[in-house]
Symmetry: C2
C-alpha cells in the first residue's frame, strides 16, 4: 500500500504531465521532398552557360523560388559524376550544391550536414555546364531537415525561428526524425523539407503529412 504522501506526490506529477501534454500542440505539416539541386550566383551562371546568360523558369516552387530549365553535371573528388542536376532560381549571393548522403557516397564527396547558406568549410565540388566548368572550393552540403513556417504558424504552435523539434510520420516504415530546425519567415508557407534519403528511408512521398511531436 502507498503512503498518503506518496499518493499526493504522484498525483502532482500526473497533473503536471497532463498539463504539459495539453501544451504540446500536435501540428500537422505537409512534407516537401528536395531532390539534389544547385543554387548559383550570377557570375557562375555566366561561367557555365555563357556571358550574359539568365536562368529561365520551368516551375514555381515555395517562397519565391523556382526550378530552372537549366541543369548541370556535378563531379566529385573521385571524378565520379552525377548528370542532369536541376538548378533553382533566382540567383543567390553564393553558389551552393545540395546533395543527399547517398549522392555524397556516389561522388566521393565528404559533404557536411548543414542548413542552406551555411557553407563555410563545406565540401569542394566541380560543376560542368554547356559553356564552361567551375570548381567550388566550398559549397557542397547535405541539407539538414527543417520546417518553413509563417510567423502566424509559429505563434499557433508556440515555436520560434531556430527552435529544434522532432517530427513523426506514421506509415508502413514509420519513424520519428529529430533535429528538425524551425525557420520562420513571412514569405514561407508551412512545409517540412527533407531530402530523398530521408523520404526513401521513411517512405514519405511529396505532400504526405508529418506531425510535430
Amino acid at each position: 500500500m502507498l503512503e498518503s504522501t506518496e499518493v499526493e506526490y504522484i498525483t502532482k506529477l500526473v497533473i503536471s504531465a497532463m498539463n504539459d501534454a495539453k501544451d504540446a500542440k500536435k501540428m500537422a505539416v505537409p512534407v516537401g521532398v528536395s531532390a539534389r539541386h544547385i543554387h548559383l550566383k550570377q557570375e557562375d551562371v555566366e561561367k557555365l552557360f555563357g556571358p550574359g546568360y539568365q536562368l529561365t523558369k520551368k516551375k514555381e516552387l515555395m517562397g519565391g523560388q523556382w526550378a530552372a530549365n537549366e541543369q548541370c553535371t556535378i563531379v566529385g573528388l573521385k571524378l565520379r559524376a552525377i548528370e542532369n542536376v536541376r538548378i533553382l532560381g533566382p540567383v543567390r549571393k553564393a553558389s551552393q550544391v545540395e546533395i543527399s548522403a547517398t549522392d555524397a557516397r556516389t561522388l566521393g564527396v565528404n559533404a557536411p550536414l548543414r542548413q542552406s547558406g551555411d557553407l563555410k568549410g563545406s565540401a569542394p565540388i566541380a560543376l560542368v555546364g554547356p559553356k564552361g566548368a567551375i570548381y567550388l572550393e566550398e559549397g557542397c552540403i547535405v541539407a539538414a531537415r527543417h520546417i518553413h513556417m509563417t510567423p502566424a504558424d509559429a505563434a499557433a504552435t508556440g515555436l520560434k525561428d531556430g527552435d529544434m523539434v522532432s517530427v513523426r510520420v506514421e506509415n508502413e516504415r514509420g519513424a520519428s526524425l529529430d533535429q528538425v530546425k524551425i525557420r520562420v519567415d513571412e514569405s514561407f508557407s508551412l512545409e517540412m523539407h527533407i531530402d530523398t534519403d530521408e523520404a526513401n528511408a521513411c517512405q514519405i512521398r511529396q505532400g504526405d503529412v508529418a506531425y510535430i511531436v
Copy 2:
C-alpha cells in the same frame, strides 16, 4: 481539488506505467548496413555463370552467410541498370534481389517493403551475368528493417520472434525507426539490419549502436 476515487484511479495508472517502464529494457544493438545484394538458387547461378558453376567466398558475414566474389548487373522495367551488385552465398531455395527505395526509383521498379524470403507478388527484375541473363517474375524487394538476436538475447529483453519494436539512434541527424521486426535464431548474432537509405537518412555507420526503446 480531485475526488479520492480520481486519485485512486490515477495512482493505479501511474503504478502500472512505472511497472511497464521497468520491464522495457533499453537494449543496445549494433547496426549492420546492408547494401543492395542478390541471393540466388543454384539453378540461377548456373544460368548466369555457366553450367556447374559454384559461387566463391570473398568475405564471411553473419549467420553463416558470406559475400561472394561474383556480381551481377540488375535491370528494371525502364531498362535502367545498376552494375556490380554483390551476390551473397550460400545459395538459397529462391532467388531474391534486395535493393533500396532509392535504387527502386533509379531502376523504375515498384519493389515492395518485405522481410527477406517473403517474395509472393514482389517486383520483377532482370539479372545479367557473364554467361547469361535471367528474368525473375518476382523476387525484387526493399528489405524491411529487422533485428537478429539469439534466444538468450530475446530472453534478456522479454522479446520474442516476430515482435515489432522501435529503435532510437542518437547523432547529428537523430531518429527513431519504428516497425523493426525481431527475428530470433540460434545462428544469429545480435545485429540490427537496415538498408543504405535508412543509414544515410539517419547518419548511421556500420557498427554504430541503436537502442531498442
